[in-house]
Structures are given as C-alpha cells and as structure tokens.
C-alpha cells in the first residue's frame, strides 16, 4: 500500500488537506480486501508478519488454508487463528509412506481435523486430505456438519469404505466435486452412487477410479445424465467398454475422462460405437485410465487427439507402434505420463511431435525385474529435453545414465523446476565411464536455477552434495537414496540449500555429526526423513533437547517395541522423522514410534 501523495524532489511532500486517514489506521476491512488479491499463501503469511493490525486483518479474512503437515499445528490452533476458512487442505504421512516405509497405524488421523472444523468452520466448503487416515465416521461428520459443502478431495488416504461415500452422497446437497485419488477404499457393497438424490444435479467432478468394487451402471448413467455441468469423470475398472460409450453419449461436454478398464475383444461394432461416442466429445482435453488397452481400439480415440493437452497412459501396457502412432497425433500435449514401454524410439517421436510438452513422467513396467527388457535409456530423455522447450518437470525411471547425457540435458533445459531421476539399480555409475554421476547432477543444479524439486540416484559421492548445497538456491524438496560416502554429504546439504523445506534420505552413510551441527536449519524446514542411515539414539536425544520446537520421532522394527528409556545412546536408529511444530509432541503414536 503506497502512500497516496508523491514524494517531491528535495524534501517534504505536501500532505493533502483533510479527508484521507494515514494508511496505518485504515480499517481492517480495507486490508482484508487488499489481501484478497494476494493469491499465494506465502504472500499472505508475509503480510501477516508485517504488524499486528495486518496480522489481525489477514488471519480473519483468510479463506483458504493449507496445512502441509497435520502435526505442525493442532486443529484447534488452525480454527482459532483462521476463523473464516472456507477451504482447507491437510497432509499427513511423510512422502515415503507411498513406498511402504512408514509403519502401519503411524498416525495422521483426519478425525481431529474434521471435529475441529465441524465446530469452528460451519461454512466450510472444501476439504482436501492427503496421506491421512479418514474413517467412515469422518465422512459422516462431514456430510452432517457443513451445509454448503462442495468439494471433497481424498488423495492416498485409507480407513474408509463405500459406506462413508454413501453418507457423502446422501448428505451433501451442494456437492460439486468428489475426487478420490489412489485411496484404499474398503468395498462394503453399498450402492453409494444410488444415494445421490434424483434432485441432485450439481456434480462437476466425479473421480472414483481407485474404487475396486462394482458400481451400478444404470445409476451412474442417470447421475451423469442429470449433472449437466459434469466436466471430469474418472471411472474405475468395473465399467466395460460398451458402457463407457453410453456414458460418453450422455456427457459429451466432458473435459477430463478416466476410462477405467479399456479392454475387450475386438468387435467392429463396438469400435464404431466408441469412435462415434468420442467424436461427440468436442471438449475433451485430458485423458487417463487403467488401460489394459487393446491396440485395435486406440484409433477410436484419434478424433480427440488433436485437442488433448494431458495424457496419462501410465497404466497402459500397449507397446510400440500403436502407442507411438497414438501419441504422435497429440500435438498439443502439455502433460504426458507413460510406461517405459514407449522406449527411446517412442520418446524420439514425442520429442518431434509434442513440442508444447511441459511435464513428462516415465514409469517402470517391470520395476522388480533386473533383466533389461525394455529399451529405455538416457537417450529418450536427452531427445525430449532437446526438442521440447517448455519442458520443466520430469520423473524418469531408467536403468542406465551417463554424465554426458545429464550435462546435455542441463544445457538444453535450464528451465527445469522439477527433476526426478530414478536409476533403478542403486549405485549405478555412468555406464560408459564407470564414474559416479556427480558431474551430471551438478550440471543440473548449476544450470537450472529455478529447480524446486530434485531426486537423485545412481552412484554418487559427497561431491554432488557440495554442488547441490552451493547452487540449488530455490530447491524446496530433495530426495536422496543410496548415495554419498560420508557425513560431509549431509552437511553440505543442510548448510546450503537456502530454500529447503523437505529432505528425505534413505540408505546413505550419514551420521550424527551433520545432523547436530545443523540443528537450527531443521527449524527452517518442514520436515526431515532419514531411514537406514547411521544415526544413533544419543544424537536424536541431543537434537530433541537442543531444539524444543522440533518433534523428533524415532521408528524401529515394528516387531520390537522400543521403550526408549532403556536403550543406550549408542543404539542405532532405523528411521528418524523430524518436523517443526507449534503443537508439542503428539499422543497418537503406535508402539514402534517414539517421540524423543
């Protein structure tokens, strides 16, 4: 808020006579209005830190709240501080929970958040939970507590069943979005879809792709027919191809489609039916699905290829020519997720056809099979990074890499914001020189000044961490596995990386010293995960003593109970999870997790 009067040259400005009050006593409503133009939470947070009146105005008008770690603050803290919230997002378990590294029943219960919200935010419209335990009771409470509830997004959650979904369907009259992504949902064979009343027509997004059970297709058809604003529809595996065609005819306005099971014996009639159905979907821009796709059916999609901006074929086992032919027609693609079955030659076609590409993810079709069956190498990534000038986000699983390739990629694409490379076999060196891949990853961080997320892999020494620490100024999230040779590696990271928020490390020879030497850094970060490193309990104890605003959690083998008091300082620690919190230690840990 700049002062209204201009600064005159050489001295005092002429204050206008009378009316306008000095800016620092403007009423809160003015600030609230001003802050409503700040889109980013971080900007609002910065404004709130300026002075008390801004703090008051900002927090009382905050509508959207993102809690990146559910244990960083208590639900009551959140509700008290931000009483006007209409949309809340809460994240729970650490990222490595996705790969089974977090013990069962670790925590991240959604119930306390739902309870506090029900009490303090009756006007709440949107809830988003990620990696949390959401029960049917939670869902029932949501359905009963918020009169204008509109958006429910559950990502990588567990603990609920179709009974909970039934409560949502029956109780949320104004629901616009039901978005279920990669959750573990117990199938209680309740026909939850039928519980959307006949009068209910407000759905814009319906995503039940992760549901494993059957769905009443007639009910689904009726629902889709009456929800004229439906833009996103993502089906599960229970919907056969011919029913898909029917659904598409009822919802030609669809923008995003997840096809579910796309597999059937080839029949020309069914092909024509599908082709005609897709031809009617003139607005379709994003396509995904668990395709056991039969190649003969792919041409049915050709008519929509022109308009597609997003294509998620990461569950498709179609290989070779049909796949490549299909993708090469999608010239406007911005996002492509695909299996490594595309191989280098397919990526070469992507490189030449899809030059608007911004995000590429290549997943392993056979992650646990050491035999190399698929010809996907560093070549594919080099090609795409050379020809796609807007490419900024990459996740790439492969089995070999060279420093030269990485250096070339870094030179071609200084605009990377997210670079995640996973060389499947740990400790794999540059396959031509047999050197560590330090030079390659160093080139990436030196060239890509806007890099926010990085995952490294292959054979790496402490040298690469020196580069990362020194150059990756904007890096917020770093994942390290099977890398480094000494404490120095960790020290370089923690003493550098100015913007680091999340650090996750597994199977590295990092010990106590760098952790303790950089204890203060941990309070500037959201969280640190270290598993199968060289930590001792004594260091964790010291850390906890030194840094009271950190929660230091230690996890060991779930079968061994670890009453910490009886263990010596020298005892090794299998897993350490440290995070800053204003809520103090939590009380919902299972037996194998202890707060030091």
């Amino acid at each position: 808020m700049a002062p209204a009067a201009p600064m005159g040259r050489g001295g005092s400005r002429a204050a206008p006579a009378a009316a306008a009050p000095p800016w620092h006593v403007l009423p809160d409503e003015v600030w609230e209005h001003a802050f409503s133009f700040l889109p980013a939470d971080s900007d609002r947070g910065a404004a709130a830190a300026a002075c008390r009146s801004w703090l008051r105005a900002e927090r009382r008008s905050r509508r959207r709240l993102a809690v990146a770690n559910c244990y960083a603050a208590s639900p009551q803290d959140a509700v008290d501080r931000f009483p006007a919230v209409r949309a809340v997002e809460v994240k729970g378990k650490p990222h490595f929970a996705d790969f089974g590294l977090v013990p069962p029943a670790w925590g991240a219960a959604a119930a306390p958040w739902v309870a506090a919200a029900a009490d303090g935010w009756p006007l709440l419209e949107e809830i988003s939970f990620k990696r949390m335990v959401v029960t049917d009771d939670c869902l029932e409470m949501i359905a009963a507590s918020f009169r204008n509830f509109q958006v429910l997004r559950l990502v990588s959650c567990e603990g609920f069943s179709t009974a909970g979904l039934a409560a949502i369907a029956a109780g949320c009259r104004n629901l616009r979005e039901l978005d279920l992504q990669e959750n573990e949902i117990e199938d209680c064979s309740i026909h939850w879809l039928s519980l959307f009343p006949e009068s209910f027509t407000s759905l814009v997004t319906l995503n039940f792709s992760c549901l494993e059970g059957d769905v009443n297709i007639t009910v689904l058809e009726r629902l889709v027919t009456r929800c004229h604003n439906l833009k996103t529809l993502k089906l599960n595996n229970a919907i056969p191809l011919d029913k898909l065609a029917n659904l598409l005819r009822k919802a030609p306005q669809i923008v995003e489609l997840g096809t579910g099971r796309f597999s059937a014996d080839y029949h020309p009639d069914l092909f024509s039916k599908l082709e005609a159905a897709f031809a009617g979907c003139k607005s379709l821009r994003r396509l995904s699905g668990a395709w056991d796709a039969v190649p003969e059916y792919l041409p049915a999609f050709y008519c929509v290829c022109d308009g597609l901006t997003s294509l998620n074929l990461s569950y498709t086992t179609v290989r070779g020519p049909e796949l490549i032919k299909f993708i090469s027609r999608c010239k406007k693609l911005q996002l492509l997720w695909v299996m490594d079955l595309i191989e280098d030659r397919g990526l070469a076609v992507v490189a030449s056809s899809c030059n608007k590409l911004q995000e590429l993810r290549v997943f392993p079709s056979a992650p646990f099979d050491a035999a190399e069956q698929v010809s996907l190498t560093e070549r594919g990534l080099v090609d795409v990074s050379a020809s796609c000038p807007m490419l900024e986000s990459v996740l790439y699983f492969c089995r070999r890499m060279t420093n030269e390739a990485l250096i070339t990629i870094a030179k071609n694409r200084p605009n990377f914001t997210c670079f995640r490379l996973c060389i499947i076999e740990p400790h794999t060196p540059d396959y031509t020189t047999h050197q560590p891949l330090d030079a390659g990853f160093s080139a990436i961080v030196e060239s890509c000044k806007g890099l926010r997320r990085l995952s490294v892999s292959g054979l790496l020494t402490d040298i690469v961490f020196k580069s990362i620490g020194a150059h990756a100024d904007r890096l917020e999230m770093l994942s390290i596995a099977f890398a480094g040779n000494s404490d120095l590696g960790l020290h370089y990271i923690l003493s550098g990386c100015k913007s680091l928020k999340k650090l996750e490390i597994r199977d590295c020879p990092f010990g106590d010293k760098p952790l303790l030497a950089n204890a203060a850094k941990l309070e500037t970060m959201r969280s640190l995960w270290m598993s199968t490193c060289s930590l001792t309990l004594g260091a964790c104890r010291q850390l906890a003593r030194k840094m009271p605003r950190l929660s230091v959690e230690v996890m060991n083998d779930p079968r061994r109970r670890c009453p910490l008091d009886s263990l010596t300082d020298e005892s090794p620690v299998e897993t350490l999870y440290v995070y800053r919190t204003i809520a103090g230690p939590r009380f919902d840990t299972p037996a194998c997790v202890q707060i030091v």
Partner: protein, 197 residues
C-alpha cells in the same frame, strides 16, 4: 530366476549381499549367493514347496533354516524395502500378486505381494511382521532380552494366540490358508486375506 524385491522378508532363495546392493542372481551364478545353493539349482525350476502349516516357529531362526539361510537380523536391513520408489497401486498393475490383508479388529488393512513369497511359511512370517500381535506390542521388558530370548518368548506367545489366516479364492469362498492347496495354486487363486484374531 528373477530377482525379487519388495515388502517381503528376505527370500531365503535369494538373499541380498552387501550393503543394499542388488546382486545379479541369474541362475547359474551360484557364487553370488554365497554359502547356499540357489533353490532352482537344487530342486529344479519349480519354486513350489509344500510345507506344513502352523508349525510353531519363531520369527527369525526357525523354519527358514532348513535352507541354511543366514537369518541374521542385520540381513533384514539390507533388504530393499520400498525400492524402486513406485506406489502400491502401480506395483499391482505391474503384475505380481498384491492382495489386501485385513486383520479382525484392526481398522486399517494392508497389502502384501503374495507372489514374492515362496511358501506359506514365508507369507505367515510377513503377516506376523505386518500385524504384530497385541501381546508383542504390549510386552514391556522384552526388548531388554537378548534376541534369542525374545524369540523364545514370542514363540510362546504365538502358541498361546496363534493367528488364523483365511483367504478368499477366485470363486468368492473363504478358506483356511494352507488347507491341502499347493502353494502355487494358492498364489494364483488368492484374492484377499483375512486374519482372525
């Protein structure tokens, strides 16, 4: 023989050597397996072995020793759990026999890749690890005892409170795990598991 990685305990047929490194275990490279023969070399291609079920055994040093495998707990650290970093749903679609496991009285179910195990014995061991019994969790002083004593103690506990593991087959019937069904047949037909407390 394929190299198998995953959530399972070290496959006694293919231990991992060294600090977490994968060792190429193509059949014939017996030297890579250290002191024991690769199962396939000893018994031919079939991995199936019908072992009696519910044999009271302790967690680490018991039944598996018949292969002469080193079940030193430090080996468990070298198992590459959660690597490569692909989400569970993706592992399922990559083939393999991921099935859901629920235990009576436990709210949250888990998943286990049945096809990564070679026998009922191994599967049970994995299940015990995933669902430590209430007794194991409740006991206070055991962690002070030596490894061996703990195993004896847990062996005792298990005799008092054995798990009963059931599974749903392709026809939707619930059967007792191990009932006269060869392991390989079981792996193909199992849809999900339930542990009765």
């Amino acid at each position: 023989m394929e190299l198998e990685l995953g959530l399972a305990l070290p496959n006694p047929h293919q231990p991992l050597a060294g600090g977490g490194e994968l060792v190429g275990l193509l059949s014939g490279s017996a030297g890579a397996c250290g002191k024991k023969r690769v199962f396939g070399d000893a018994f031919g291609a079939s991995k199936a072995t019908l072992l009696p079920l519910f044999v009271p055994e302790d967690g680490d040093g018991g039944g598996g020793d018949r292969d002469g495998v080193d079940h030193d707990p430090s080996n468990k650290k070298k198992r590459l759990e959660g690597w490569p970093p692909v989400k569970c749903a993706r592992r399922r679609s990559c083939g393999g026999g991921y099935v859901k496991v629920k235990m009576e009285g436990v709210a949250i179910g888990r998943k286990v890749d049945v096809s990564l195990h070679g026998s009922y014995q191994e599967l049970l061991r994995t299940l015990e690890r995933m669902f430590p019994s209430a007794n194991q969790q409740g006991a206070g002083a055991d962690a002070d005892h030596a490894e061996e004593e703990e195993e004896v103690a847990s062996h005792e506990r298990r005799r008092r409170h054995p798990y009963v593991v059931t599974y749903e087959d392709g026809e939707g019937d619930w059967l007792l795990v191990g009932d006269d069904v060869p392991w390989e047949v079981f792996v193909k037909s199992v849809k999900r598991l339930k542990i009765l407390a």
